[in-house]
């Protein structure tokens, strides 16, 4: 039996920091939180056994200060650092600095992070390892002519992608030769200005693609397994917002093929720990390597619910030198799980962030419902970071039951205060016939969501609503509040947002 860590520092914040703290507590390991000025009262600080201040609110001056994070670990006697997702999670330099300080980085080796971090190199490497990649340029391109040559070979439409891009940035769709000149110039300049790396490459455009990923796990003894797929096609602003496992699109044969390919991809970079191999799938169920995320994903709970494996505890165990406690054959999917990411954002205003203070919050619970939250009632969703409130996860014996439970849980979920949430958006998705049939691709939200609620009230509800309003008026007096002008809206705010904000002002 290997020695387990006594204390772990979590170089992150929000729900993932709380998630890792919980894993530590269940393993009898003490947790060290770090926090910026904006996070003194945050849930991860409250829940951790230790907490160290690491700087001002902007992440670049606190959560992304390598030396401060490592100093905090050394000072509190932490033996290992868990990076969560985002921040330092895919930063090879940080992983090396942690190792150089005599600590354990809970993640893959720096070399694997690095090799998967460069998208063009990763493409080459995967193609060489026999992993299917989207047809395109073998490496980066420099000139319009090179691009045109590739385009003529693979055919339009094509995608121009910045080598250092990601999250939907640094990408251009080129429909035909006519647009090529302008778009090459545009992507090259954006790549340079946004990422400081002007390189780009070309891939054939896959129409109506599904985004499907495979969870992999490897230990230090050469065991590499996959924990099946996650369906992540529901995206807004090129960011995932609802995930599920299994995918309603994946057949048993496709599942096995994707799993084998994902394991191959991980082995090709001598991977250790939790990782995710992302694929694009076309309508014919061809799938192509997109990228590998060398960290725990936001959407890991859906895999946990269908496999029964606690991925975060397993990350810690593997980092401490333990072998995987199961073989591929012992893993199985049971039932169906869905995750809704609940954000402080305004779906009726292009999903723009709308953080603020949570005045009241009633979380759902009961059968099949899990919540991974990073906030509490009375907490502030800070404006400086990703405005996630919590992840709402539902499990069912089959997809229909999982959706029914999610719908039920969303209806129970109430939150109010100086912020807007995307709960109504999730309620809308859970009632869409195409979603219920499992027929959607990455363009679904853009094509079908208009921001309108669409639900109609029954008559007694209207009466009751008037009464609730009248009760409030008669209890609190009929004084009119100050007009709205003093906080003139700067974007097209929803009524929710405006009212929420103003409501909070008078408390």
């Amino acid at each position: 039996m290997t020695r387990m860590f006594k204390r772990i520092l979590i170089a992150n914040r929000g729900e993932i920091a709380v998630r890792v703290i919980r894993a530590c507590r269940e393993m009898g390991i003490e947790s060290v939180a770090v926090f910026s000025d904006a996070d003194r009262a945050s849930l991860h600080v409250r829940e951790a056994d230790f907490a160290v201040h690491v700087g001002p609110a902007p992440a670049a001056e606190s959560y992304l200060k390598t030396e401060r994070i490592i100093d905090a670990a050394l000072r509190t006697g932490a033996e290992a650092i868990h990076p969560g997702y985002g921040f330092f999670s895919e930063n090879a330099n940080f992983a090396r600095a942690v190792k150089d300080a005599g600590l354990t980085f809970i993640g893959p080796p720096a070399s694997a992070v690095e090799r998967m971090g460069d998208k063009v190199e990763a493409r080459k490497l995967m193609a060489a390892a026999g992993v299917p990649v989207v047809p395109g340029s073998p490496g980066t391109l420099e000139s319009e002519e090179e691009v045109r040559a590739v385009a003529n070979r693979i055919g339009y439409p094509i995608m121009l992608k910045a080598a250092a891009g990601g999250g939907g940035k640094g990408m251009r769709l080129v429909e035909n030769d006519h647009d090529l000149t302008a778009l090459v110039r545009s992507v090259a300049s954006e790549a340079k200005s946004s990422f400081g790396d002007g390189r780009f490459y070309v891939e054939k455009f896959v129409p109506g693609p599904r985004h499907i990923e495979v969870q992999v796990f490897a230990d230090n003894f050469g065991n590499t397994v996959h924990l099946f797929e996650r369906e992540c096609s529901l995206q807004r602003r090129h960011q995932k917002v609802i995930e599920e496992s299994p995918s309603p699109f994946v057949t048993a044969a496709m599942r096995q093929a994707m799993g084998e390919v994902a394991v191959k991809a991980a082995r090709a970079v001598d991977y250790v720990g939790a990782g995710t191999v992302e694929f694009l799938a076309d309508e014919n169920r061809n799938f192509y390597f997109l990228e590998m995320n060398t960290r725990i994903q936001v959407e890991h709970p859906v895999t946990e619910l269908v496999t029964g494996i606690d991925l975060v505890k397993l990350q810690i165990a593997v980092a401490a030198g333990q072998p995987l406690p199961f073989t591929q054959a012992e893993l199985q999917q049971r039932g169906w799980a869905l995750e809704c990411r609940v954000y402080a954002e305004d779906p009726t205003a292009g999903f723009s962030p709308a953080p603020g203070k949570i005045q009241t919050m009633r979380l759902p619970d009961g059968p099949g419902i899990r919540i991974d939250a990073g906030v509490y009632e009375g907490a502030e969703v800070p404006i400086f970071y990703d405005p996630m409130i919590c992840k709402l996860i539902a499990w069912g014996r089959d997809r229909d039951e999982a959706i029914a439970r999610m719908r039920r849980a969303l209806d129970e979920f109430s939150i109010s205060g100086d912020l807007v949430t995307n709960l109504d958006f999730h309620r809308w998705v859970m009632r869409q016939p195409l979603f219920l049939k499992g027929e959607f691709d990455t363009g679904f939200i853009g094509q079908h969501y208009s921001g309108a609620d669409g639900r109609v009230e029954q008559d007694p509800a209207r009466l009751a609503a008037i009464l609730a309003a009248a009760f409030l008026v008669s209890r609190d007096g009929t004084q009119a509040r100050p007009p709205v002008a003093s906080s003139a809206p700067t974007t097209q705010t929803s009524a929710w947002k405006t009212l929420g904000r103003i409501d909070s002002l008078r408390r």
């Binding site: 009466l463 609190d476 003139a488 974007t491 009212l499």
Partner: protein, 170 residues
Amino acid sequence: MPIRYRTTLDGIEHEVEIEELRPRLYRIKLADTAHDVDVQPVGSSSFSVLVRDRSFDFDVIRNGDEMLVVSRGGAVRVTLVDPRRQSRRAGAGNHVQLAGPIEVKAMMPGRIVNVLVKEGDQVAHQQGVLVVEAMKMENEIKSPKAGRIVKVRVAPGQTVERGEALIIIE
């Protein structure tokens, strides 16, 4: 003694008469039909309401006379105006707050990516005036009213703080 309100429910106006029969029991008359309604507060702005055996659970978010009443079934916008008060506020319509010069302020810290207007421009209601990057996302800021740009206080590349005035529209 019943109180009469002029109520607007999802944009449609009604006369409504509300009478407290006894604590928490109200009689409400709407379009000449009376209903008895049981209202139970269950939190600072939450109410359990029973009407004809139906149970509703509401969070009420109030903005003066206007209220957003949120329940499992969805949200209803309700405006309740006491007519005796209304005369005093005559002319104070929904858009009064948008008359005169308005400062468009930053709702969160960010970086100005693009300024789409210049001083002197005429802009329409909801026309885009600025692009701000915040939290890794670009947001187009739209004009809250039709008017003329009298001042542009920011330039592309500049970082702004929450609440900072960006543009003044007259």
